[in-house]
Every structure is written in C-alpha cells, then in structure tokens.
C-alpha cells in the first residue's frame, strides 16, 4: 500500500465510512458528511432497478353512514383499495366482509410502500356483498356482482402528512354524486421501520494482502436479496496497516437490513487506492446472528472468496444496541413542512417563445413544454407537504421594466412573490412569458440568495420548515463562483436546491454543483459546504428511461431533510400542531 502519506483528498474520501451512520463518530469525511449513499451503493441500486429503500405502510379503513342496500337487514360492506399505475387501476387489497353494518370498521389492513418522490393515488371502493356469496373467499368475489356503496380517492401523501396519519373522505356514487357517507383511512408506518442497530465491530488475525506493509482493511455489509443479489448498505472506514482492526461504530437501520433474519453478507477488503479492493474474506450472517455473537463474545470466521476455505481471520461484535430513529413521516405528520419555491430561466438562449422551436413555446394543443413539465411534476409531489400552498415563484435573466433582472416575481399581475398552488405557478409562468423580454446572462446567485434569505428568516420563527428551491434552466452559468458561494452558505440552512436542465446545453458545470461525486463545494472565502443540498437532473437524460425526471430529482430530499434535522438535534413535535393557520413563515414583502 504505502500510499497513506500521499493520500489525496478524493482517495481519502473513498476510505471514509458510508451508509452506516457512524453514530456521529465518523471522520466527517466528504462522503459521510453529505450523508448520501456512495456511488457504489447508488450504482448497485440503479443497475438492479432498486432505488433507495422501502417505507412499508399499513392502511386501515372505517366508514360511516353507508347506504342500506338490503331489504331486511343492513348492508354487508367490504372495501377494496386500488392504486393507479399508468392510468390502470391495480388492486392493492380488500378487507373482510362485515355483516349487517352501516358503520364498519374493518380489521383487514392493506400494505403498500410509501414513496416520497411520486404521487401515489389511491381509490377506495365499498361494496355490499350479497348474502349468497358469504361463503366465498373475498379474494374470489366478483365485484361486478356486488352492490356498489360508494367510492373515494386521495393521494397517499395526503394521508401521511395529516396529524395521526388519518384522513376522512366523502363517498361518491359511481356517477360521481356526493353521498352522505364518509370513510376514514389511516396509514401506519410499522414501528420496526424506526429501529436501528448500532454496532462496534473488530477483527482478529486477518490475512495479510500487502507485500511491504500490512493490509488496510474495511468492511462492507450487503443485504442479500434473492432477485437482485447483494445490495451494499454500509461500509466502514479504512483502518490503515492493521490486521486486528477496530472500526468506528456503524448503524444499520431496519429499512436497510429488512428483518433481523434477512441474510446479510459481510465482506472484508484490503483497500487499494486504485479501487480494485482485494477481498480478504467474507461470510453470511443476519442481525440475529450478530446479536448472538455479541452475547456470546465469540468470533465469526471469514471464508475465502469461493466460500470453501475457512480462514483464521475472525469478526467480533464489541457493542450492539438497538436505537429508535425518527423517520421522515414522523417529522412530516407532526407539523414539519416542505416549502416549495420555483425559479424559471428567461434567458434569450431559450428562443423566442412565439416559435415552436423555443423551449418556452406554449403549445396550443396543451402539451406542456419542458419548463411546464418540471413545474407540474415537482409541484404535484411537493404541494402536499406545504400547508398553505403559497409558493414563491421567480424568473431570472429577463428584461423587466427596462432593465435585466436576475430575480423578478413571476406573478407580474400583482408583483407578489407568492402564488397559490401549482396552477398559480403555471399561470404566472405563462403570463410572464408575454410580459418580459428574454435577455441574459444566466445567473443563479440572486435567486438562491433570495431563497436562502427566506429560509434563514424562517429560522427566527420556527425550526419546523424546510425549503425546496426548484431552478429550471437551459443555460450555462456565468456566475459559477457566486453560485458556489451561495450554495456553501445555504448548506447550513434548511434548504435544498433542485436543478432541472432543459435543452441541449452542456450541463457539465451543474454536475460540479451537485456534489454527488464526493467533492465538497468550496466558496471563494474558504468556507466549505457541510452537506450536499443540490440535486441536478438534465431533462433529456432521463426521458424515456425507467426513472422519471421528477423521481430522480426528489429521491434525495427526505434524506437531506432528515440529515439537516438530525444533525441539529431537532425532533418531531410531540403534540398536535396548533392549527394549520400558523404564524407567517416570513414577514410580508415590502
């Protein structure tokens, strides 16, 4: 090895612990600091079609004032829940039949996985099951032979953002008329999804892989999934030149390891700066078996690559404790908000909005242009996490009232920075197109500063707001250093920045702002970003792919939110939020 005296920052970055939480004791290296899974983990997920991890949710249902369809008794209701995938209804589950009740409270629950980054529409239909079918298993019931009692629909995010995770909906008839009855759906995140295990691991008698010095070992823990093979969930830092290494504590969340009996693969590698780490040994285990190792103080033997040869190297568990971690939904349902803000690029390089080639062209057929797609896609997901749905919306790079502005209110009618709802953003955007003349250059500094000002002002009032700025742009930045300075400053604020690149420009510099490569942004004054708050996606790259632009943009947000809250020791509120009409987020504009 011998490279330890010339470690460049990026090599060292590769030696940091990732994905294990580190219990706050990690070196604070770039990778750990930014909290994102490392490239290897990300690559695995993408290559195998698995992105991120599951948040299983259990839905339970009740209804009141159902219609009575039976002549001599009351209805015998059953509820069926569907989700809408690509315009097609897919059944998630159905409840048992409750006899003779107009106020049923069903016992059977439906499970699905909550995904922050997509809208998950749910449709609930209630049927009166005819007596002659009561011996039939509910799974086999033909629904068109049953009497329809009413339906309701909502999005999963509307349920999970409610205090108590409960939402009551009015029932409608099959032709859309309102009915007297209501139904209530309750979403429960299983307690186990809050569990995490913190462990301190060490090894004895590892095999030496280096010629002139000893091995530089690190551990990688993967979850074994039948269909996808091993998915890395955590790696430790590298301990240099040591065959009996002790690593800093790692934390595995239950969302990472699944169940305690889910097979895990523990691999020990000798670190090579080339990235071709040499396997020292591996073995298969589970959290339960690791608990047994800890209790018995015994070691687990590593095996050679092919698994036949038992090696003398052993792994020991020095410490093991279970912890409870607050989840994203714990924060959201206790009154924490994601506040959405938008900034749209009005530079001349977009092309004259009146010609169809323009990126800003409003198609009379109603087909949204790239800007509209991005606003709609992100706005539709985020709107449910913002109580008042008043979104600041700005434009930049256009000539307004005679001079070029790099941050003007999109709402040209009232010149109020806020608009109401996603529809409000859409109409303000269209009206701006006719009210301003496209100019340039492309600068992000002023809009990021404006968003950062709002985020820092909100800190004075409360710590339960997190801000999300969406910037949609076609161009190459002229103020890259100013932008970096703003982002570095904002990394200590409750703010994340999503950038969508439209058109065919070279967006390489955006990748620099999106610190996924593990290099931390540095400002001109020597301040360094404490976390990655920028997520960049070019519109063209993801079009036609499996993952939509919006999903790839949004999937890091819950992690960035949690990292901000947890590192500052901010916890979900225990009581119900005092009404939704809370104090203004920030003082009104002059």
């Amino acid at each position: 090895m011998g490279g330890c005296f010339s470690v460049a920052g990026d090599v060292r970055g590769g030696m940091e612990a990732v994905g294990g939480g580190g219990g706050g004791r990690s070196h604070g290296g770039a990778a750990a600091q930014q909290g994102g899974p490392n490239d290897a983990v990300d690559h695995f997920f993408q290559a195998r079609g698995l992105r991120g991890l599951y948040t299983p949710i259990e839905l339970s249902f009740s209804a009141t004032k159902l219609r009575n369809m039976d002549a001599f008794s009351k209805s015998d209701p059953m509820l069926v829940v569907y989700t809408n995938i690509k315009g097609k209804l897919e059944e998630i589950g159905r409840t048992e039949v409750i006899l003779n009740s107009l106020e049923p409270s069903w016992i059977t629950k439906a499970t699905m996985s909550y995904q922050f980054e997509i809208v998950q529409p749910l449709i609930f239909r209630i049927y009166d099951v005819d007596t002659k079918y009561h011996q039939t298993s509910v799974k086999l019931l033909k629904l068109d032979q049953q009497d329809f009692l009413g339906e309701a629909c909502c999005n999963l995010s509307e349920i999970v953002t409610k205090f108590n995770h409960s939402l009551t909906l009015n029932l409608r008839s099959d032709c859309g008329h309102g009915l007297h009855g209501t139904m209530t759906v309750h979403a429960e995140e299983s307690d186990s999804s809050r569990m995490a295990v913190e462990m301190t691991l060490h090894c004895l008698n590892l095999e030496n892989k280096d010629v002139l010095s000893k091995s530089d070992p690190f551990l990688r823990i993967s979850k074994l999934v039948e269909t996808a093979g091993p998915i890395p969930i955590c790696k430790t830092e590298v301990v240099i030149n040591n065959l009996n290494p002790v690593w800093r504590p790692i934390t595995l969340t239950s969302q990472q390891y699944g169940s305690k009996d889910n097979p895990l693969l523990v691999e020990c590698f000798d670190f090579e700066s080339s990235g071709n780490h040499e396997l020292i040994g591996a073995f298969q285990t589970t959290i339960t078996q690791l608990e047994n190792l800890y209790a018995s103080k015994s070691g687990a033997n590593f095996y050679s690559h092919k698994g036949q040869r038992k090696m003398k190297g052993q792994l020991f568990v020095d410490q093991l404790q279970e912890k409870v971690q607050h989840t994203f939904l714990d924060y959201i349902s206790s009154g924490f908000e994601l506040n959405f803000m938008v900034a749209v690029d009005f530079t001349a390089s977009n092309g004259d909005p009146r010609v169809p080639q323009s990126l800003h062209y409003i198609d009379p057929s109603g087909r949204p242009n790239s800007y509209q797609q991005a606003i709609l896609g992100v706005g539709e997901v985020l709107q449910f996490y913002d109580n008042d749905r008043r979104f600041p919306a700005w434009g930049f790079g256009a000539r307004t009232q005679g001079h070029v502005s790099h941050c003007f209110n999109l709402n040209t009618a009232t010149n109020d920075s806020e608009v109401v709802g996603v529809e409000g953003i859409m109409s303000a955007y269209t009206s701006s197109l006719y009210a301003v003349s496209l100019a340039g250059p492309t600068m992000f500094g002023p809009v990021i500063n404006r968003a950062a000002d709002i985020a820092s002002q909100s800190l004075q009032y409360s710590n339960n707001k997190y801000f999300v700025l969406l910037i949609i742009t076609d161009g190459v930045l002229t103020d890259i250093q100013e932008t970096k300075d703003c982002i570095v400053r904002a990394s200590d604020l409750p703010l994340s920045i999503l950038i969508v690149g439209v058109g065919n420009a070279d967006f390489q510099q955006m990748e620099i702002l999106d610190a996924d490569n593990g290099k931390r942004l540095e400002s001109s004054t020597g301040r360094i970003a404490t976390r990655d708050i920028v997520q960049f996606v070019p519109m063209r790259e993801v079009q036609g792919g499996q993952i939509s632009v919006v999903q790839s943009l949004l999937e890091e947000l819950p992690g960035q939110f949690l990292q901000y809250m947890r590192t500052r020791g901010i916890k979900p509120q225990q009581q119900a939020p005092p009404g939704h009409a809370s104090a203004p987020v920030y003082p009104p504009q002059q």
């Binding site: 706050g24 995904q115 980054e117 912890k323 200590d492 901010i570």
Partner: protein, 216 residues
Amino acid sequence: SFDPPPILVSPQLQEHMARKGTAMPMPSMTLEVTVVSGEAVRVPSGRPLCHGAYAVVRTATSSAPTRVDGDADCHGFPYWAEAVRVALPAGAPALDVEICCARGGGRPAEPVAAARVPVEDFTVGPPGHLHCLSYRLFDSGSCGIRRRNGIVNITVRRLDGAPVGAAGKAAAVPAAGKAVGAAGPSGSGASCSGAAAGLGKPAAPAGAVMGYPLGC
C-alpha cells in the same frame, strides 16, 4: 447555448450586497464551539498529522483548547467532537480555529493550520440554533505564504439570549438507549458529520412510474 455577457448588476443583487455591507455590529456573545474533526491535515513537513493533534478556538479576548486526539494513527484525520466555550467581544468580526500538534520531549506545541470563522456564519439562526460549519485550513507557517491545508468541521451555538427551553431543545442531547440519530461523544449535536450517512431513502421499486390523481 450562450447568453449575452453580463451588462449590469441587478437591483436585487445591489440590494443584497448593500444589505451585507451594512450589517449591524454584533454585541458580545458567549459561544459554544464544538471542534468535530479535521480532514487531510498536513504538518509543515508535508506528512499527515498523526500524533498529538488538538485544536484551539481563539477570539480577541479568550481561547480554549480541546484535548489531544487519542488516536495516534489518525493519518491527517483527527477527531475530537469536543465542545469548548469562548467569549466573543462586541463588534468582533470573526473567531479563529487553529489545529496544533503537541510534541513530546518538552518541546513546545507546533501550530499546524488555522481557519477564520466570520460572525455572519453563526448568527443566521436565533441564539441556541446549532450552526454546522466547515472551513478550508491554511498553514499557520510563519514564512508569510498561506498554503492551503485540509478542512476543519465545527459547530457553533450562541449561548446567551437563547431561551432555556429552546436551547435545550436545539441541543437535544441524545440520551443513551432511545437516542435519536447522532450521538456524538460531547452529546451536543457535534455530529454534523456522518450522523445521517445511513438514512434510508423512500423507495421506488423497479419500474415504478409517475402516477396522477384521478381528479379527486
């Protein structure tokens, strides 16, 4: 695609710059500074800082050292997560964090690298709010050339003026057992680094697609 070159600075930017320029002088403050860790720190000889690494937080009127990092094999990545308290006099523009190397044999400690922390960086939130900050270190060398060195990670909290309850809430000392997230040794949210490295992300199963509400 190219846009015309910059012609003039927008009124918003001018306003922003003006605002930054005319900041009110800050009153005196008591600060809790947690020096979390250093990254890729080199001693003057060019080798990674290994033995005897400690940090000193300095203001015009006070200074406070951390303990020496017990890990002699830190290879330029010292770790303390230790909170110290300093007083910052009114109007002071900044405080300094210096990394030093204690040496054996009765020799004086060697200054290694330092970073300056402007007051604006930790007065964004109200008193009691924890600011997580990182800075480029520059050599403390006396040769007059300030060479870039590694990085230092710190957290800063203003103690005076913080409501007692609020300060406690923000500090959120993770209790043993049912602790939430990051438990730094100092217990004061010193874990800006790595605390959330293992966060689970909500999932999208293979082939998941965007859905749109049915117009409810």
